[in-house]
């Protein structure tokens, strides 16, 4: 038998507050597609950083092709044939595709050679790219192609992919898998980091499971079920949600024929977006990120007040140009995608952070709106208790909380305002499974209490689990709505590429 391509022996890595990797071992054979499975915070990323030389282990060894390797930095990793495709792409928006790829290669190439080799790989793997387009004009899928081509051009022996499918349409996932299988057939080992069980079972030939920084299992995923993998990953089977029948109420939030240019440098313009949400239902908006979600959310929440008059109405009242405070006063609350720095001020306490959205009930009336610290602290304590947030009390700073707990706090803060309309972006992004289940259950409870909810998410599984109806957003356009029970992953996946009308289909072909 051949020597293993990559072997990790008893690696431990400690950070001030957490042991990210605790005696982790990993064995990868040449040409193997090896999954590293674990939920957020299980230590997958730290392990990959160690392999890629971005950080050094406190203890343990890395062996490469049968020899002990001390990989001090990413250049050295690349020189040995270890390449990585990052979850948050390491691309430069204003530079061209060729320049981006050039930056990831050795100095020895000229830009002209790089262009030629991009064209070569494009033919070989079916990864078309226009070398001279600036990256900011590319879709997410195209950007990932840039990352992959960049990795391929280093002729890798090991290719690491970190959650590569979280941003892709189901069809694009299939195309990616085809590329990876082809690459593996040439003898390249692939380390596939994910928390998506179906994907791992269909793609990978081996799987190492991490939980809390420790290895909890080394299995052949093809011989496992989702339930058995899930047990290894979280120690339990995923909780199921109770879905009651919809009791529809009045029309709560309406968007009518909204067309709006983005105010961001490389943003997406909204084009003729119309939707209507009624009390008592959850409407999901699926789509690959960067297709206008940010712009739509800003218009719904009031963070952007540039929408033309009459385009956004809340219970019949025109709120198009009202700011978030004014909309909140009429019952519309919003949970943004970023928690630190947007949903909460990192350096302020949880008590002070209540003032961000709950001032109406907390501060006095003008002329001077006084702040009463005991009242903010009391509200924070209530939220902490009611939503079982793990925090060092109301005076703990927002940034001292883990991602999951801060999200529980923010969602809790908005839910306890008893909103009539709640707009939520990426409710469980980067949140551990337990907290995610809790947040989803709370959202359903809110729906049953007669609130109208809009959930924008990139996770199709989540949308199918939560929502009563779905829309898809693609290139700033909103699809027609479809009841979740009539929808299939395939159909939504097609829609995510903008293919919901013949006219758009022609443009694509």
């Amino acid at each position: 038998m051949l020597a293993p391509r990559l072997e990790i022996k008893h690696v431990t890595k400690r950070y001030p507050s957490v042991v990210a990797n605790d005696d982790v071992s990993l064995l990868v054979a040449p040409g193997e597609i090896h999954a590293v499975l674990g939920e957020n915070g299980a230590g997958k990323s730290t392990l990959m950083k160690i392999i890629y030389g971005a950080t050094q282990p406190d203890a343990g060894e890395v062996w490469f092709d049968g020899q002990r390797a001390h990989i001090k930095n990413p250049q050295e990793a690349r020189a040995r044939g270890i390449s990585m495709v990052f979850q948050h792409f390491s691309l430069f928006e204003t530079l061209t595709v060729a320049e981006n790829i050039w930056l990831g290669l050795d100095k020895s190439f000229s830009l002209t050679t790089v262009r030629e080799r991009i064209a070569q790989k494009a033919v070989e793997y079916g990864l078309e790219l226009e070398a001279d387009r600036p990256v900011h004009s590319l879709s997410i899928g195209e950007r990932q192609r840039v990352e992959i081509v960049r990795a391929l051009l280093t002729d890798p022996k090991v290719l690491i992919l970190d959650e590569p499918t979280s941003v892709l349409t189901p069809q694009a996932v299939e195309r990616l898998f085809a590329v990876l299988r082809k690459l593996a057939a040439t003898g390249c080992s692939i380390l596939y980091i994910s928390h998506k069980l179906d994907e791992i079972r269909s793609l990978c030939t081996a799987c190492t499971v991490l939980r809390g920084g420790k290895v909890t299992g080394i299995v052949d995923p093809r011989a496992e079920s989702n339930a058995s993998l899930s047990r290894l990953m979280i120690g339990a089977e995923p909780p199921t949600l109770v879905h009651r029948d919809v009791v529809l109420g009045d029309v709560a939030l309406t968007v009518r024929g909204l067309t709006l240019a983005s105010d961001q440098p490389f943003g997406t313009a909204l084009s003729d977006v119309s939707m209507q949400i009624r009390a008592g239902e959850i409407v999901g908006i699926a789509g690959v990120s960067g297709n206008g979600q940010q712009e739509l959310l800003a218009v719904l929440s009031g963070e952007s007040t540039r929408a033309p008059l009459g385009s956004v109405t809340l219970f019949g009242a025109d709120v198009s140009q009202q700011n978030p405070r004014a909309r909140r006063a009429q019952g519309l609350h919003f949970v943004p995608e970023e928690r630190l720095g947007r949903g909460a001020v990192p350096s302020l306490s949880l008590a002070q952070n209540t003032l961000l959205t709950r001032a109406a009930t907390l501060v006095g009336k003008p002329p001077v709106a006084w702040i009463a610290p005991p009242r903010t602290a009391a509200m924070a304590s209530d939220i902490i208790a009611r939503f079982s947030v793990k925090a060092g009390g109301a005076q703990a700073s927002a940034k001292s909380l883990s991602g999951g707990n801060l999200q529980k706090y923010i969602v809790g803060r908005e839910i306890s305002a008893m909103p009539k309309v709640l707009v939520v972006a990426q409710p469980t992004w980067g949140v551990d499974v337990g907290a995610a289940a809790q947040i989803r259950a709370e959202l359903l409870k809110l729906r049953d209490a007669g609130c109208a909810l809009v959930v924008v998410s990139e996770e199709l599984d989540e949308l199918f689990e939560l929502c009563d109806r779905l829309h898809v957003i693609a290139k700033g356009k909103l699809s027609p709505t479809i009841a979740t029970r009539d929808a299939s992953i395939e159909k939504i996946g097609e829609w995510m590429s903008g293919l919901w009308t013949p006219e758009v289909a022609d443009a694509q072909a």
Binding site: R327, E338, G341, R342, P346, S347, L348, W370, I371, S400
Partner: protein
């Protein structure tokens, strides 16, 4: 190798200790400078840290210098907390002084004592107007307030020299570029006979209390600070960034203008080209050394005032240039910023 490691929570201890450590380092560097200039370090240091506090008169002079620094720095702390980089307080100070002088020059021997109030209000409005230009340019044209507010300093100073060498020049002033001496009634009331301390000190101390309440007990103050700490969170909360910009610049401009009025109608008593002595810039240092906290700023203003007096004494008694003050002030801010690293990070020795 020394390595910085992020602390899970910012260190409270270093929040207080960092300015002290910065002061110690500054003093050490100062000592080296004194020795290099061939002066006895202890004698030189006593000019800065003992002479200004050794008698009640010395203390009163310390207060005279600390008052404008305190007032300006209180205003600037609002700006810096809301991430509005007004570095042109010197210009707002000068324009406040010009406006105050304009009112004071209208007085004659028969004017009521209440003119003082008008003088002060003119100063405040003048400072606000000057800061308002920067606010307007930022609000309407998105022009960076750092650069505009600083350019406005130069413009204010040229305007001042124009006025005192032209329209407002004292006809009986032996052709010196300065206005006539203001009427006695415009003089800011003194606190104690035999000192130069004025009611400005009381205004400053009242400002300390008012600012504390504004920052930590009003929703308006909270909104302003969120805008500084996390602009996206402020937008999410629905807090207007325009309102924050205007509020911050009006408060700091008004404060700087008030300081200008107190200075021109107080210790100086006429409009001269020597009104700008750098208080507006020194107050930036005061604001940072005082942790942008009203109480901290009091101590920082006293310290900076010691630097001013020490510099003057070192010039008259030790023949050291008084620009040494500027060196030490700059050093203090520089070392403070470096020491502040210890609040968020701890230093570890690695391998």
């Amino acid at each position: 190798m020394l390595k910085l490691e992020a602390r899970p929570n910012p260190s409270k201890l270093w929040g207080f200790a960092s300015p002290l450590l910065a002061l110690v380092i500054t003093v050490l560097i100062g000592t080296v400078i004194f020795m290099a200039m061939g002066k006895a370090p202890l004698t030189a240091l006593s000019m800065f840290f003992w002479e200004p506090i050794k008698s009640s008169y010395a203390l009163s002079e310390l207060a005279v210098k600390a008052t404008p620094l305190l007032i300006i720095a209180l205003g600037l702390s609002v700006c810096f907390r809301s991430n509005v980089w007004n570095i042109g307080a010197e210009g707002q100070f000068v324009f406040g002084a010009i406006c105050a002088a304009g009112v004071a020059l209208m007085a004659d021997a028969t004017t009521s004592r209440w003119i003082v109030l008008a003088v002060l209000i003119a100063g405040v409005l003048g400072g606000m107007a000057w800061a308002g230009i920067a606010a307007l340019l930022r609000d309407r044209f998105n022009a960076n307030e750092i650069l505009t507010s600083l350019m406005l300093v130069y413009i204010a100073v040229f305007l001042l020299t124009y006025l005192v060498s032209g329209p407002w020049k004292d006809p009986n002033g032996f052709n010196f570029p300065q206005s006539k001496t203001f009427e006695k009634v415009t003089q800011i009331p003194r606190l104690l006979d035999g000192t130069r301390m004025s009611i400005g000190l009381l205004i400053a101390l009242a400002g300390v209390g008012a600012l504390w309440v504004y920052l930590f007990r009003t929703f308006s103050g909270f909104q302003l600070q969120v805008g500084g700490l996390a602009p996206l969170a402020a937008r999410y909360g629905g807090f207007s960034s325009r309102k924050a910009l205007w509020t911050a610049l009006m408060i700091s401009g008004g404060a700087a203008g008030l300081a200008g009025a107190l200075e021109v109608a107080g210790p100086v008593g006429q409009l001269t080209p020597y009104i700008p002595v750098g208080y507006g810039f020194a107050a930036i240092i005061v604001a940072f050394v005082g942790r942008l906290h009203p109480v901290g700023i009091v101590f920082a203003a006293i310290l900076m005032s010691m630097f001013y007096i020490g510099g003057e004494l070192a010039q008259s008694r030790l023949r050291l240039s008084k620009s040494l003050t500027g060196v030490l002030q700059g050093l203090l801010l520089f070392t403070l910023l470096a020491c502040d690293t210890l609040i968020a990070y701890r230093v570890r020795w690695q391998r």
